[in-house]
Amino acid sequence: MTGWTHHRGLAVGLPRESIDTDQLIPARFMSVPRVQGYGPYLLHDMRRTEGGTLRADFPLNRHPTASVLVTRRNFGSGSSREAAVYALVDAGIRAVIAPTFGDIFSGNAVNNGLLPLTLPSAAVDALLTTLGTDTTEVAIDLAQGHLRLGPHLYEFALPEVWREKLLNGWDDIDLTVSRAEAIATFRAGRKMAAPWVWPNH
């Protein structure tokens, strides 16, 4: 995965609460290997009629090139299905802005280069008002923690490690392997203190 520092693109509003992981990608698409791309399944049942045609009035269909989503509280709630993040990333989304996110979703997002950006409800309301049913240019500076969207300018702080992972495209496995010695020491202690952890040890 490659990291990123700045992003410029178009933001679109999705003024709904609690868009959960089952909405982000319905379960029936999750057996598809990732190499085939998950973009077409993003919000599949919201975006399409039962016949499978795209609904003309759905924000992402009106503005398929948008790369930043602004939405309401509890985005990505529900399951650990990382496929929800794959669908967003494969559809070209770089950042989602909301007042709150599902915990597991946020972690998954950062692991895939997607920024889950938390702003206060009032700020999100202001952004959604500006966006209306249209798009607006957005600029995100990860290094500085700046967001500019139309007339609005916000500062944001990210957990340091999230920022580093997003900036560098880092992978946790690399970070952890450097701690191999501490892990081995811990493991030995664990085995002494609680041998039953290893069944039939």
Binding site: S31, E50, E82, N108, P159, D172
Partner: protein
């Protein structure tokens, strides 16, 4: 000295600790400058959905760090009928991929034909793989279930699954602590499911976000392990990272003699260890919530988020009286669910029922449902899918399967089934399903499906009346 104390000479070692503090400390290998901890993982459970992680591992050419702490389970895609001839190529491939990966890495596999097969969160405890004091990870959010044993158990994403496979560790920021104390005693036919739906409605679907919940109080102590698992299972639906219940004699009695539980000398040592886990009496929590058990009625969801739950005696909300954001959300949910604002919930006709899932697919759940159904006929079709093959065998030994079948409900093999529909057990568009599962999101049980979450007893009541209804009068006079 505990490992944590060894690594963090400055951290507070003395002082009152919560169950969560003790578990965290016992598994913390190291801590980064930003406060994020590297935790040791004692149990890693994988299922068909873990194919992304196996693929990531293969792409990097690495093996599993601890294959003997990793257990593979077929559940999400497990067909509940005709297992010998799996018609759907995608389902067949998903199961075979897990089988191949388990074989390649030397993992113990609970496959389709294993007499112990079942939903990962039913199987783990049943096998004694889940124990007090352990960390348990699985690429599934309902991993919180295992917290019922006093284990630090939480769901992780696919990239994290690959990380656990490669290192047997996980990076986690330390959640805040929250105690939900349910005092007093639950009323008749009111269960752990009702406690959970009650508190989630009270605090919201993100009400416990960023928190580790410990459930306490007389009503929680009185729950069986099955009930405790239901309660911890639903923690995630209130946004919590994980749920916990302190281990006690109920826990130990459940575990003794299970295949993977410690035995002999180890059992005695483990009991000693586990007895030290409960929160110290003067330990403090970041948040405290108190609930009077007697105030909880049989509760069910009416909308498309688990927070949209009400007692069965209530009327549906009227968006006209809500603030604009909430009103829009409620209108959308009522519309999707095909419900009229302001009308009583009870009496709403249902099209079908489902009893099963990692929330309520255990033997006690089936017993409760059967007690309601016994001697009655179901007015609507329905499916009963036990949580594991062992639950199925036990239920059949008790004759519960016949009670369901004679009432007109279908009795099938174990798996996730209609909870998520990945195996093809779907609710048709527009159909209303009374369900003992955990998620009422739009499309969860199939595109356009209308899900009402409730306890298995309440599902049984819906089956025999064909409507959403209060189970309590139905149980009067029943043994």
């Amino acid at each position: 000295m505990t490992p944590a104390a060894r690594h963090f000479p400055n951290s507070e070692v003395s002082g009152a600790q919560t169950l969560f503090d003790k578990l965290w400390r016992a598994h913390e290998i190291t801590r980064r400058s930003d406060g994020v901890s590297l935790l040791w993982v004692d149990r890693h459970l994988v299922h068909e959905g873990s194919h992304h992680a196996f693929a990531q591992l293969a792409a990097r050419g690495i093996d599993l760090a601890e294959p003997h702490l990793t257990y593979a389970v077929v559940d999400h895609y497990a067909p509940t009928r005709n297992r010998e001839n799996i018609a759907d190529a995608d389902i067949k491939r998903m199961i075979e991929t897990l089988e191949k990966n388990a074989k390649k890495h030397g993992l113990k596999l609970f496959g389709l034909r294993d007499p112990n097969q079942g939903i990962v969160h039913v199987l783990g405890p049943e096998q004694g793989l889940t124990l007090p004091g352990l960390t348990v990870n699985c690429g599934d959010s309902h991993t919180s279930t295992h917290g019922a044993f006093g284990a630090l158990a939480f769901g992780i994403g696919a990239t994290e699954v690959a990380h656990v496979m490669a290192t047997q560790t996980i990076w986690q920021s330390r959640p805040k602590t929250m105690r939900i104390t349910v005092s007093g005693a639950l009323g008749a036919a009111v269960s752990a499911k009702d406690i959970a739906l009650h508190w989630i409605a009270l605090l919201g679907a993100d009400g416990a976000r960023g928190h580790a919940i410990e459930y306490a109080g007389a009503a929680v102590r009185a729950l069986s392990m099955e009930g405790r698992m239901t309660l911890c299972n639903l923690s995630i639906e209130g946004g919590a990272r994980l749920g916990l219940i302190a281990p006690d004699t109920t826990t130990f009695a459940y575990l003794q003699g299970r295949p993977y539980a410690p035995q002999g000398h180890d059992w005695a040592r483990a009991l000693d260890d586990w007895a030290r886990l409960p929160s110290d009496p003067d330990a403090t929590f970041d948040r405290e919530v108190e609930i009077d058990a007697a105030s909880i009625a049989p509760t069910l969801t009416w909308g498309t988020s688990p927070e949209e739950a009400l007692p069965i005696t209530a009327t549906l909300p009227d968006p006209a009286g809500l603030d604009p954001n909430r009103a829009a959300r409620a209108r959308d949910a009522l519309d999707y669910m095909g419900l009229t604002p302001g009308r009583p919930l009870a009496g709403t006709p249902v099209d079908q029922v489902f009893i099963g899932s990692c929330t309520n697919g255990r033997i006690e759940d089936l017993r409760l449902a059967a007690a309601v159904i016994k001697g009655r006929r179901a007015k609507v079709p329905g499916l009963v899918a036990p949580g594991s093959a062992l639950v199925k065998a036990q239920a059949e030994a008790e004759g519960l399967d016949r009670i369901f079948s004679e009432a007109g409900l279908e009795w099938v093999a174990a798996g996730c089934s209609m909870c998520v529909g990945m195996n093809g057990d779907l609710v048709d568009p527009g159909k209303r399903c009374a369900s003992s599962t955990n998620r009422n999101f739009k499309g969860r049980q199939g595109r356009g499906a209308r899900t009402h979450l409730m306890s298995p007893a309440m599902v049984a009541a819906a089956a025999v009346t064909g409507t959403l209804c209060d189970v309590r009068p139905l149980l009067e006079g029943c043994a």
